[in-house]
């Protein structure tokens, strides 16, 4: 399974599924780690668009050839950019410019873009950072990149702690319903 139409089909075929590389036993696994590679990269734009299954190792190699890098360094080189996107916080979302997603109804949508500045519409692409595969399947990510010497910071990830208030829950549930009305992504 390695194309948008196959992912759409898989999502439409299932009442429940789990986005990731390992099944959690409750639902079939939608693993898109084979969906990798560069969609567009022009070093002078400081923007790279990647398929979500691209590993950090691959990203570093592609950018490194042009003496550029992600805005911070990620230690786990085998993680895919989709995994990093789904489990990160503000430090990562600082570099996010746009996404292509497939929602719970199997529909493809695009938010944000491939330019450094874009305030048209709510910032859905940054909002989805940290959504842990519960709202939508992230298929493509556009990121701001920098010349290597600027990327000094190490990526820290987000802490596991943090309790959720009633309002947190209400907002999460409300937002999940928008993207995944039938509760496909578990």
């Amino acid at each position: 399974m390695n194309s948008i139409s196959e992912f759409q089909h898989f999502i439409k075929q299932h009442d429940q599924l789990h986005i990731g590389t390992e099944s959690d036993n409750t639902a079939p696994c939608l693993n898109i780690s084979g969906y990798s590679g560069v969609v567009e990269y022009l070093p002078e734009e400081l923007v790279i668009t990647l398929r979500a299954g691209t590993t950090i190792r691959q990203v570093n190699a592609i950018l490194g050839d042009q003496n550029q890098a992600l805005i911070f360094q990620i230690k786990d080189l085998d993680q895919t950019i989709g995994e990093v996107f789904s489990c990160s916080g503000a430090q990562f979302s600082d570099s996010v410019l746009g996404v292509q997603i497939i929602n719970g109804n199997g529909e493809v949508m695009n938010f944000g873009g491939r330019v450094l500045k874009n305030v048209a519409g709510y910032d859905v692409s940054r909002m989805l950072v940290g959504s842990q595969g519960k709202l939508a399947l992230i298929t493509e990510v556009s990121l701001k990149v920098l010349p290597k010497k600027f990327a000094l910071e190490f990526y820290e990830g987000v802490s596991e702690s943090g309790k959720r208030s009633e309002l947190d829950k209400r907002l999460f549930d409300g937002l999940k319903k928008i993207f995944d009305p039938k509760g496909v992504f578990v």
Binding site: L42, P43, E44, E45, L46, V47, N67, Q68, G89, A90, Q91, S93, D94, E107, M109, N110, F111, G113, R114, V115, L116, K117, N118, V119, A120, G121, Y122, D123, V124, R126, M127, L128, V129, G130, S131, Q132, L135, L146, P147, K148, K149, F150, V158, S159, E160, S161, G162, R164, L167, D168, L171, F172, G174, L175, K177, I178, F179
Partner: protein, 477 residues
């Protein structure tokens, strides 16, 4: 009136403005072609007063337009008919400065520049610097995700906010922080144009002031050469603190206005600022000089006074152009930089066709264009013509892979442009997001996201007459 009486029951009289005279100053923001008087303006001094306004408005189903300094360029703070303008300019306290963590906690009505002034003694500053920074407020900056000339290197507002405290319409306080796990709601609030909540407190990230800065000014015989220079600089691995471009009309207007010493014969001008430690800056200046071998004129600022003077020309470009025409209309599209020359050429062709002059200034480093269309609102049909021209430019920006707005926001002005950038499904997602945060749809309703009808009808939409825009919440059928 019952509603006003209710407001006055718990609010001091001096913070509630009603009536023709008192409401006039609030009838528009910096996009002055659209005007509408609100029912009332409330200028709260504390969070309790904001909560009270929200409650009374919710009970009476009165829309609320939150406003900072009213410097927005897209009509985001334009009052809606029968609305309350919630003006936060009196909430202007800086609560604390923590130089160690490089953060400051401030009220939403604190001016952008006031933050940098307050932390200057610690060697710090707040990086986002929209041209209106002397007046605009931090709350407004967040609402628009404001940019400025230095965001290529130092980021947008969203990248420089540590946390915010906001109120939902039902008065619940909600804190969002960069440390949060889960959905990126802090990022979502940035650029949400007052449609999702009311920001009551902000923790801003501060940056170390650069020790040294120099500006290179280069004139070119063609726009293409100048655009090419931008690409060469970025490719070389240098990230300038600012990288701005102006076309010949903008150069001449600015020079006449500020006498900064701009080369008036040049077809395009590049301003490139380097900052950091002195040695590094000198090295980069030399590198860039070599990259600019195509330039017809080249000047490096000799001292701080000259650097600021050269910037002054650019920063005064809008008023300078404003002096040459009764009215001007500022466009805010952003494009991939590689299309700069071709997009400019097309704008110039349209300029001839529409018989409307255009001066171009850009944040070239991030591809953010600001074509200024000169027009005269008193000439019949010219406002419509200007808006049609503007929409052509925005459509072109989307076609080449860009966006209709880089930093000014959609507001009321770019609702039609939104129809070109997003499809119905995507727009529907935006509408649903609003409903999750604001089920009553009372926070700045009708702004930022077009109703789907509007997009369907766009082809045969009526244009505004004499500067009066049909209300966006009304269906355009």
């Amino acid at each position: 009136m019952k509603f006003i009486d209710e407001l006055l029951r718990e609010l001091p009289e001096d913070i509630v403005l009603i009536g023709e005279e008192n409401t006039r100053p609030y009838e528009c923001d910096a996009l002055t072609i659209y005007r509408q008087k609100p029912l009332a303006i409330v200028l709260p001094r504390n969070v309790e007063q904001i909560k009270y306004v929200l409650k009374i408005c919710k009970d009476n189903k009165i829309p609320i337009v939150t406003r900072g300094a009213g410097t927005g360029l897209s009509g985001g703070a334009l009052p809606l008919e029968g609305c309350v303008v919630l003006g936060l300019s009196k909430m202007d306290k800086i609560h604390s400065i923590d130089p160690k963590r490089a953060v400051a906690t401030v009220d939403p009505g604190v001016r952008n520049l006031a933050i940098s002034e307050a932390v200057e003694s610690h060697g710090l500053y707040f990086a986002p610097d929209p041209s209106s920074q002397i007046a605009c407020t931090i709350g407004g900056n967040i609402a628009e995700n404001a940019g400025g000339v230095h965001c290529l290197k130092y980021g947008l507002t969203v990248n420089n906010i540590q946390s915010i405290t906001m109120l939902t319409l039902d008065g619940q306080e909600y804190k969002l922080s960069r440390e949060d796990k889960g959905l990126g709601l802090l990022a979502l609030m940035n650029g949400s144009e007052g449609l999702l909540g009311v920001i009551t407190q902000v923790e801003v990230k501060l940056m170390k002031k650069p020790i040294f800065a120099k500006l290179i000014m280069a004139g070119f015989d063609s726009v293409a050469d100048c655009a090419n220079a931008v690409t060469l600089i970025i490719k070389s691995g240098i990230i300038p603190a600012g990288l701005e471009m102006m076309d010949s009309f903008a150069i001449q207007a600015s020079e006449e206005f500020t006498h900064a010493g701009y080369p008036v014969d040049a077809r395009a001008l590049l301003l490139c600022e380097l900052d950091g430690d002195k040695e590094q800056v000198e090295i980069e200046i030399n590198q860039i000089k070599e990259l600019l071998s195509n330039a017809s004129t080249l000047k490096v600022s000799a001292d701080e006074a000259e650097r600021l003077l050269l910037w002054k020309g650019r920063k005064s470009a809008f008023p300078a152009v404003g002096k040459l025409s009764p009215d001007y209309y500022c466009i805010d599209g952003t494009i991939p930089k590689r299309h700069l020359a071709s997009v400019l050429e097309q704008i110039s062709k349209w300029s001839d066709q529409y018989k409307l002059r255009v001066a171009n200034v850009f944040h070239a480093g991030d591809g953010n264009l600001h074509p200024l269309i000169l027009y005269d609102a008193s000439v019949e049909g010219e406002v419509e013509k200007t808006e049609a021209f503007g929409l052509e430019i925005l459509k072109l920006c989307v076609e080449v892979g860009g966006t209709i707005t880089g930093e000014h926001g959609v507001g009321i002005e770019k609702l039609d442009g939104m129809c070109h950038q997003y499809n119905d499904q995507e727009l529907s997602v935006f509408h649903q997001i609003k409903k999750v945060f604001d089920p009553d749809e009372l926070l700045n309703p009708g702004k930022a996201i077009p109703v789907l009808h509007r997009c369907v009808e766009l082809g045969r939409k009526m244009h505004p007459h004499n500067g009066n825009l049909p209300q966006p919440e009304l269906e355009n059928i």
